[in-house]
Structure formats: C-alpha cells, structure tokens
C-alpha cells in the first residue's frame, strides 16, 4: 500500500494491467471433494492463486480443557507452502498467518451450527499452494465449500472478495501489483442470503464515499462467486449419486462372485 512507483495500474480507457475493467473479477474455478482422507475438501483457482481447503470433524476436542460444553470449536489454519511465493517462505506459522487464521476462524464460526456439536472441534485447513494477492478471500471461499462438502450443517456458505483503490479509482479484486502499489485493500466476506458481513479488514486510505462504493461493488461480486460455489457443490453431489449407483452395481456383482467362490 501507498508506494509511489512509476507503474501505471490503469490506462486511459480504465483498463487494468491484466485488461480487466474496474469491477471485473479475475477468473475463478472451484472444485469440491478433491481429497480422499479429509471429511470435506475443495480446490480453488482464483487468478494466480491455487488453494486447497480441507475439513476434519466434528471430532472430539483435545486436550479436554479445550472442549466447550455448549458448542463446537471452529479452528481454521491458514498456511502458505514454502514455494507459494517468489521469495521462499520459511515453513510454519508467522505472525501474518496467525492473524489470518484467527479472523477466518471467526468468520466461519458464524455460519456453522456449532451448538449441534458440543465438546467437538471442527478443523479447517487452508493450504496456499500458489499465491497472487487475495489469498485470504480465496481461502475463505474455498473453505466454506469444503465445509459443505463435509456435510457440516451451515446456515449458508460464506463468500469472500476484496475491493481496493488504484490510480484514485475504486476497483474489485486486486491482483499482486495492484495490492503492492495501490492505495487501499479491503477484504470482505458475507453470508450471501442475508448480506451480513462476517469479515472486514482495511488497509490504506479511503474516503467514506469510496468505502461505501467499494462495499456495494464487492457485495455484488460475492453473489456471483456464490453461484460458482453452489455449482461446484452441485457437480460434487451429482458425482456422488453416480458413484453410489456404480457402487451398488459393484456390490451386487461382488455378492454374486462371493456366491461363486
């Protein structure tokens, strides 16, 4: 934020360095149920971000004194792979990832019916395999698909997206250069059905009007991403149905074979 560099982030016609318009998202691709071991999972590509999310739980919380007798603990761990950024990152949590893990946990907690699973923990793991600005929004969007894939009861999905300001103009979904040399970055996450805001951070310099303009733009974009999330889950469940049919056929076949043996 706030660096003055001779990099032109927007041309005369309002096009950004990657050709996007001010309110255009980078390309997004979501796939649910991509891992075998986890209870639920999702893979997401968003511009240059490549992200995996996995869910385990509800499972008994350890150690005991961390158990809450009234509800499940929601614990999200955001982690960057060493090779996910240009300058190799030392493995393990740093202060940035500790903070992000905290606010993502808080956002996800809101949509999960935690009171249905007292004394348990629901663990959400977000692995940033390739990073290119906006990883917390991408990770949160993937994580809520993974939660749904795990069959965790939720009031809705969470959708996340950032807006910001470059070259004096409010724009959607910053990419790396825009984040580094722009004037503001505002990650946001909402519950799409109710439009409630569950995550909001801000860095930089915005007037009240710019802030409100960006909020509306980002909330609209979130609704589009919501469509992609639901599409990914629909595909995943139709695959499950296919597989179940297949499985039934196989079992029938197996039973026959066993009779033969």
């Amino acid at each position: 934020m706030g660096e003055n560099i001779d990099l032109k982030l927007m041309d005369e016609e309002g096009r950004r360095i990657d050709g996007r318009k001010f309110d255009e998202l980078r390309p997004i691709k979501i796939e649910a149920n991509v891992l075998k071991r986890a209870d639920g999972s999702a893979y997401l590509e968003w511009g240059g971000n490549k992200i995996l999310a996995a869910v385990y739980g509800p499972r008994e919380a350890h150690p005991r004194h961390l158990q809450d007798p009234t509800k499940a603990r929601v614990q999200c761990r955001y982690n960057m792979a060493a090779f996910s950024v240009m300058d190799r990152k030392r493995p393990g949590p740093d202060r940035r990832s500790v903070e992000i893990s905290k606010i993502l946990s808080e956002a996800l907690e809101y949509v999960i019916f935690t009171e249905q699973f007292p004394r348990t923990t629901i663990d959400i793991f977000i692995e940033i395999l390739q990073a290119e600005a906006g990883t917390r929004c991408s990770g949160l969007t993937a994580a809520s698909v993974a939660l749904a894939d795990a069959g965790i009861p939720m009031r809705d999905l969470i959708v996340s997206c950032a807006f910001g300001k470059i070259a004096g103009k409010v724009v959607l979904d910053l990419r790396k250069e825009e984040d580094n040399f722009g004037e503001a970055d505002v990650p946001l996450a909402i519950v799409p059905r109710t439009e409630e805001i569950v995550l909001l951070q801000m860095d930089g310099h915005l007037t009240t009007n710019e802030f409100q303009e960006g909020l509306s733009m980002a909330m609209k974009a979130c609704k589009n991403i919501y469509g992609l999330q639901r599409e990914a889950l629909r595909k995943r469940y139709s695959t499950v149905i296919d597989k179940n049919e297949e499985k039934e056929k196989k079992e029938e076949k197996k039973e026959k074979e066993e009779v033969v043996q």
Binding site: M1, G2, E3, V74, R95, R96, V98, E99, S101, K102, I103, S105, E106, A107, E109, Y110, V186, V191, T194, E195, E196, I197, V198, L199, L200, Q201, M202, D203, G204, H205, L206, T207, T208, F211, Q212, L215, M219
Partner: protein, 258 residues
C-alpha cells in the same frame, strides 16, 4: 454459584440494559470511558506514553535503533510493533510466546500507524539500502478492563509524538523529533444482541458477538479497519459505525495532541 451461572446472569443483565439503550456503567452507547494520556513516563525509552481508558492501563514505549531497510523499500526507515499481554494484566493472559490475541493487537495497531503514513519513513533513511533508523513500538498492557485496541493505538500515537531520535548518541548528527504526518485514531464498537456499543469494558466484551475497529485520520478518512469475533454486521451497521468512529476520533485525538 459457578462461573458459568454468573456469566449467564451477567449476559442477560447486559442484554436487558442495552435494549433500553443503557450500559452497566451508566454510559451512553456511544460514550467512551474517561481517557487520560501521560507522556514521557519511561526515561530509558526514546518516547513513551501511559494511557488510562477507564480501568484499562496500557504503557507504550518507543525505542530507536539502527538497522537495514527492507529490500523492497531501500529508502525508508523500518517500523515494527509488538504487544505483550503480560499475565500481570489479567488472569486470562499467560506467559510464553505471543498468542493470537497479542499478535492481532500488534498487527491492528501497526496497520493503523503504517497505512495512515503516520511517520515520514523516508526521513528515517540514513544510507539508501544500507542503514536506516528502526522504530520499535512496544505495547505493554498493565491492567486489562476491555478495549485494548483503542487504548493501545492511542498509546502508540502518543508515544510516537513524544519520541526523539537519539542521533547524537550514535554520532549521526543532532537529535530530532520523529517526523509525524498524520494522527490516526482507532475507535472500536461491539455488537451486543442488536445494539452497538463503543469502547467496550471487559464485561461487555465478554458478551459481544462482533467487533469493529475503524481507524480514521484528521480528515475523517478511513485508514484501517478490523472486524473480529464470530458474529456479523449488517451493511447499515457498518456505515453507522464508520460515521460514529469518525466523530469520536475527533474528540479522542485531543488527548494525544495535548
């Protein structure tokens, strides 16, 4: 009576009060507790301030050292913020390496100062890419009765305005005051049921479902925000909080400037 029963009673009591627009300590929903800022309280620090926000007490010290600039900003001094929630301040704080609570606190205060351009970091460069002044802001919480974000942000700004760069001690010219360009003030609002309360006390924080800290500068522009806790805000609530934070910041800024 068990702790849980007491806290359940407390919760209900606070809920009932907020419905009537009242608070346990008789404040209005958008009223701060008494604020007192004392500067130059630690002689070993290059700048310092003690902030009393009701019963919450925070001591902030600024130390200045020499170091190398970051590779991507070779012509700028370095700013680093650290918070210690020492177990003296609360029975719930523990010894040991910083936990997520103190990390979030330090990072929110840091962003409030950094993103607002509070310091003219280019004036802290001695030799491009080689040698710069390093500004260490250390937040030491002494007594915890809620709203550490605002108390710490106030303390950090007050300590910075109180800081002299000890250039002569390093034989690098004459001492000079830290170059301050902006005066960002953080205002924290919590949501209890559907009411919004500014400057929460500890009892209020315990029953809050969501929290929003808005940092604004002397022009009323927004410089940093942080939403916390496992609840939500409506768009309308966010807008209201931004407006009230801008107004309250104007008042609270005076405690630092005096």
């Amino acid at each position: 009576m068990s702790d849980e029963v007491i806290s359940e009673i407390n919760r209900n009591f606070i809920y009932q009060l907020t419905e009537k627009g009242k608070r346990i300590d008789n404040r209005a929903p958008n009223e701060y507790r008494p604020i007192r800022v004392e500067k130059s309280v630690v002689e070993t620090a290059e700048g310092s301030a003690r902030v009393y926000l009701g019963n919450t007490v925070v001591l902030v010290g600024v130390k200045i050292g020499l170091g190398e600039p970051f590779p991507d900003t070779p012509q700028k001094g370095v700013l680093t913020t650290n918070a210690e929630l020492v177990p003296m301040a609360s029975p719930t704080f523990e010894s040991g390496p910083p936990r997520e609570g103190s990390i979030e606190l330090a990072r929110v205060v840091d962003r409030g100062i950094r993103e607002s351009g509070t310091l003219d970091l280019e004036k802290l460069c001695l030799e491009e890419g080689e040698k710069v002044w390093v500004v260490f802001i250390d937040i030491h919480v002494l007594d915890y009765d809620g709203n550490l974000f605002d108390a710490s942000a106030l303390g950090a700004l007050a300590a910075l305005t109180n800081t002299t760069v000890p250039a002569s001690r390093f034989e690098l010219g004459e001492d000079f005051k830290l170059p301050i360009m902006h005066y960002p003030i953080a205002c924290t609002t919590i949501k209890v049921e559907n009411s919004l309360l500014v400057d929460p006390s500890l009892e209020e924080e315990k029953v809050a479902c969501a929290r929003l800290t808005v940092t604004t500068d002397e022009n009323g522009d927004i410089r940093a925000m942080q939403k916390g806790l496992g609840g939500s805000f409506t768009l309308e609530q966010i807008k209201n909080i931004v407006t009230s934070s801008q107004e309250l910041a104007k008042v609270n800024r005076k405690y630092v400037l005096d």
